[in-house]
């Protein structure tokens, strides 16, 4: 199978080079046969890369330890689902996975894109093939070939890193990769539009679903990654501002900005250059993440082993950046806006400020991530940039963003009068102020937390007002009840109301993050029967009693499990278990250092998070770290709601966006009427 895999990689490489060269040199123009061949090439590429991938999966499931990759990341006793996910557990496999997803997306693009954009499709095939060719090049010539064989066959493999043996890790990397990789499609359309000089809103319409999809995959990938970090790593949090985490956030931020600013281009024909810049920038940031993960240039717990592959990515990043922005520069005169921003009190302005805040946060995250390198270059001393830096710099920007999330929907397109502003802001602002006042009354004194929760109230007030008005209008027009009106309101304008659900999800994220400011941790060493008490930030006391330690063998590991009986204010909440796991190969040899499995007693208000640190002197006397984590459940709920809102927005059908008419004296009086977004 490795021969077949190698053959497929080579075949795919040659086809992708041919497609990229013929397409991007425009040699297909005037040659319909070549044009057709170009649009079919991605289908052939997908087929060939799928065969290569199946060959690797066969090696993994067949325990072919003569394949270096299989020996490095699996063992005979690894459960099947982790054999499946071992495909992307290592550098080489993850590159093939990237190629697999990219080739699949490129083929789907050619199949599903409307014939209205057929002029762009050969160029799109060229760009996706060029990106694919790069990944195949890295595998074939960059020392990252997943089909490389060993000179001997070990009796068993090394096994999969215990921290990757978690359901979250089966889902998190593919989701994140799907997000990163699907940005290539909007990027390909942007470059195609620039090359073909078709710079109307056609390319924007062609990529609408792809941009949403990539944003959605990134959101899911990031949230599952947070969940994995929380349940698996055992440090009681879900976001550590690690460079690799930051790298996933960067394209998410710029794609979020794009999803907002693209509405201005659709409705007003403005921000064409900005939108192209955002798409090109998002693609570059997705590659930057890959570079950071694989180069070892910045220390990260999530990095793959340091290798020269990273520098190939740096070269590709520079090439794509210079190529993309040069092309944008040469088409600059063709990208004149069709209208001008008319007022500060307009939805366009609110979206522009929202874009500014999003790109500002992205810049600040990138700046903080790269600051150690810059500082070393400028001052010659090594420094570290961790959560205290990012929290200090990003929290104010995040609050600004939260405020703008509430402001945007309240302002009409083009211009809003003062009385209209007053009418629109009255209830949302009151809700926000009331929320803050109630929290102050309840004793909250943390300034940032108060602002975050007050602004959350404001945004929720905005969304509720929008839904209320929409349902009421439907009730008047169609005599519908509130529930039917609610469902139909969303169904008839999925993009707008799906977007509002996403706004609510963002608010809930913020509320969940705010809970992190109130977490409490306590360490204790307990003999069996002894207890430790920990105060909840809401008041009340948890008591955890050490019930004993069991040792047993399960699947591919030797388990030492501690159990604790939990009560809250004297009321029993059941038991919580935390484990130490020593993973072993099929010959019972230890494969990695013992890892820790967290015990979590979750709830809507707070999680009780128990980590079994280890035993004292080899007896059942053991040390524990106990944390009370408020509002964490809401972070996962927000993730679910965000996906739900995203799916509504993404669902096929629904009316096309309505462009705002050009301002004329007779239309000026109607400008205050908000056009459905």
């Amino acid at each position: 199978m490795t021969l077949l895999g190698q053959f497929c990689l080579w075949t795919a490489f040659l086809i992708s080079i041919w497609t990229a060269v013929v397409s991007l040199s425009s040699r297909w123009k005037g040659r319909p046969d070549l044009g057709r061949a170009l649009t079919r090439a991605p289908l052939a590429l997908a087929l060939v890369v799928w065969v290569a991938s199946v060959a690797l999966w066969k090696g993994l499931f067949g325990h072919d330890f003569n394949i270096e990759y299989v020996a490095a990341y699996t063992s005979s006793n690894l459960p099947d689902y982790y054999l499946f996910s071992a495909f992307w557990a290592g550098q080489k496999g993850s590159l093939l996975f990237w190629a697999l997803v990219l080739s699949t997306f490129a083929a789907i693009t050619q199949l599903v894109t409307s014939s209205r954009y057929r002029d762009l499709l050969p160029y799109v095939a060229g760009v996706t093939s060029a990106v694919l060719a790069f990944f195949l090049f890295v595998m074939l010539f960059g020392g990252a070939n997943p089909f490389e064989r060993l000179p001997f066959t070990p009796p068993d493999g090394r096994g999969l890193n215990p921290q990757l043996q978690n359901p979250g890790m089966v889902m998190h990397p593919p989701m994140l990769y799907l997000g990163y990789i699907s940005i290539t499609i909007p990027f390909a359309f942007a470059i195609a539009a620039l090359l073909a000089r078709k710079l109307d809103t056609g390319w924007i319409h062609a990529i609408r679903k792809w941009s949403l999809l990539s944003w959605l995959f990134l959101s899911i990938g990031i949230t599952i990654g947070m969940w994995w970090a929380y349940v698996e790593l055992g440090w009681g949090g879900y976001w550590a501002w690690d460079p690799v985490e930051n790298a996933s956030l960067l394209p998410w931020l710029t794609m979020t900005a794009f999803l907002h600013s693209v509405m201005i281009q659709e409705k007003r024909g403005m921000l064409k250059r900005w939108n192209l810049g955002l798409v090109i920038g998002s693609f570059l940031l997705s590659i930057l993440g890959t570079f950071l993960t694989r180069s070892g240039v910045i220390a990260s717990v999530h990095s793959f082993a340091q290798s020269s592959v990273g520098y190939l990515f740096l070269g590709f990043l520079l090439l794509a950046g210079i190529g993309g922005f040069t092309l944008l520069y040469t088409r600059w005169p063709n990208l004149e806006p069709e209208a001008e921003l008319e007022s500060l009190a307009s939805r366009e302005a609110a979206f522009l400020f929202n874009n500014l805040a999003l790109v500002g946060v992205a810049f600040s995250v990138l700046w903080g991530t790269l600051f150690p390198i810059l500082s070393e270059a400028v001052r010659g001393t090594k420094i570290s940039v961790g959560p205290p830096f990012f929290n200090k710099v990003n929290v104010p920007l995040g609050l600004l963003l939260l405020a703008l999330t509430g402001v945007g929907p309240l302002i009409a397109w083009r211009k809003t009068s003062l009385p209209n502003l007053r009418r629109q802001f009255l209830w949302p602002l009151s809700t926000g102020l009331l929320t803050a006042a109630v929290l102050v009354g309840l004793g909250m004194r943390d300034g940032y937390a108060l602002m975050a929760l007050g602004l959350s109230g404001f945004v929720v007030g905005t969304v509720v007002q929008e839904f209320y008005r929409g349902i009421r209008a439907r009730g008047r027009l169609y005599q519908e009840g509130p529930l039917v009106g609610f469902v139909r309101l969303i169904g008839r304008n999925r993009r707008r109301y799906g977007g509002y659900l996403i706004h609510v999800a963002i608010v809930i994220y913020f509320v969940g993050f705010t809970g992190g400011a109130f977490k409490v941790t306590k360490e204790a060493t307990l003999s069996v029967g002894e207890s430790v008490e920990i105060e909840s930030p809401y008041g009340g006391t948890y008591q955890l009693t050490h019930m004993g330690i069991s040792q047993y063998e399960a699947l591919n590991r030797l388990v030492t499990a501690a159990s604790l009986e939990v009560t809250r204010n004297g009321k029993s909440l059941g038991r919580v278990f935390s484990e130490k796991r020593q993973h072993i190969d099929s010959f019972k040899n230890p494969t990695f250092q013992p890892s820790t499995e967290v015990g979590i007693l979750g709830g809507l208000r707070e999680d009780l998070y128990v980590v079994f640190a280890g035993t004292v002197d080899g007896t059942e006397r053991a040390s524990f770290a106990v944390t009370v984590n408020p509002l964490v459940w809401w972070v996962w709920f927000a993730g679910g709601l965000l996906v739900f809102g995203g799916l509504i927005t993404l669902w096929p059908g629904g009316p096309a966006p309505v462009p705002v008419p050009v301002r004329t004296p007779s239309a000026a009086g109607q400008a205050e009427q908000a056009v459905p977004a």
Binding site: G236, G360, P388, E620
Partner: protein, 195 residues
């Protein structure tokens, strides 16, 4: 035992058997608190007893500001309470406790760490010199760009000045013409205002 309890227990056993093939409970707490474990090495190295200073808020606040030198990128507190295989963070913790027990203030303790390990021991750079640039640049850029944008839009928001009266006789456009009826209405309104 009631039938329902029996069935519930049997169900749990069955589920455990399905979910954890090969599960064999080797030891439980019935053996007594001081008894050695069957295989202590399964649980990693022995842990020290938790002391009062380990839960001290001052110690923790400082540890959140110090980076573990093992290369994990985490702060000392998070590393020592997460990765129990790390040998660096417990050592850094002991060092910090000794400094505080010797009468150093938190700032002095942090300075002692910086003097020994360099500035990279800090989780975030000091807000001085180039470090201040690090903190201020992103927010300043957003502020400046936002101010420029707001200024430009505010200028556009100003009402357009009324056109200056032309020197010569002006021919009224159709749009500007008013009917006799409209003129009569305006005159009536003005009379009412003056009376």
């Amino acid at each position: 035992m009631k039938r329902r309890d029996f069935l519930r227990g049997a169900g749990r056993l069955g589920a455990a058997g399905l979910l954890l093939p090969g599960l064999r409970v080797q030891q439980d707490s019935a053996r007594g608190p001081a008894d050695p474990l069957m295989a202590p090495s399964w649980a990693g190295g022995a842990r020290p007893e938790v002391r009062a200073m380990d839960n001290d808020e001052t110690v923790r606040a400082i540890e959140y500001k110090l980076r573990c030198t093992c290369g994990c990128g985490l702060d000392v507190f998070t590393c020592r309470t997460t990765d129990f295989t790390c040998t660096y963070s417990p050592e850094l913790h002991r060092e910090l406790v000794q400094l505080l027990e010797a009468g150093n203030t938190p700032d002095q303790a942090i300075e002692a760490f910086v003097a020994k390990y360099g500035e990279s021991i800090l989780m975030a750079p000091k807000a001085k010199g180039f470090g201040a640039v690090g903190y201020l640049l992103p927010g300043s850029l957003v502020l400046v760009a936002g101010s420029i944008l707001a200024w430009v839009l505010l200028r556009r928001d100003r009402p357009e000045p009324a056109p200056a009266p032309a020197a010569g006789p002006v021919e009224r456009s159709d749009a500007a013409r008013v009917t006799d009826q409209e003129m009569a209405q305006v005159e009536r309104a003005l009379r009412e205002l003056e009376s």
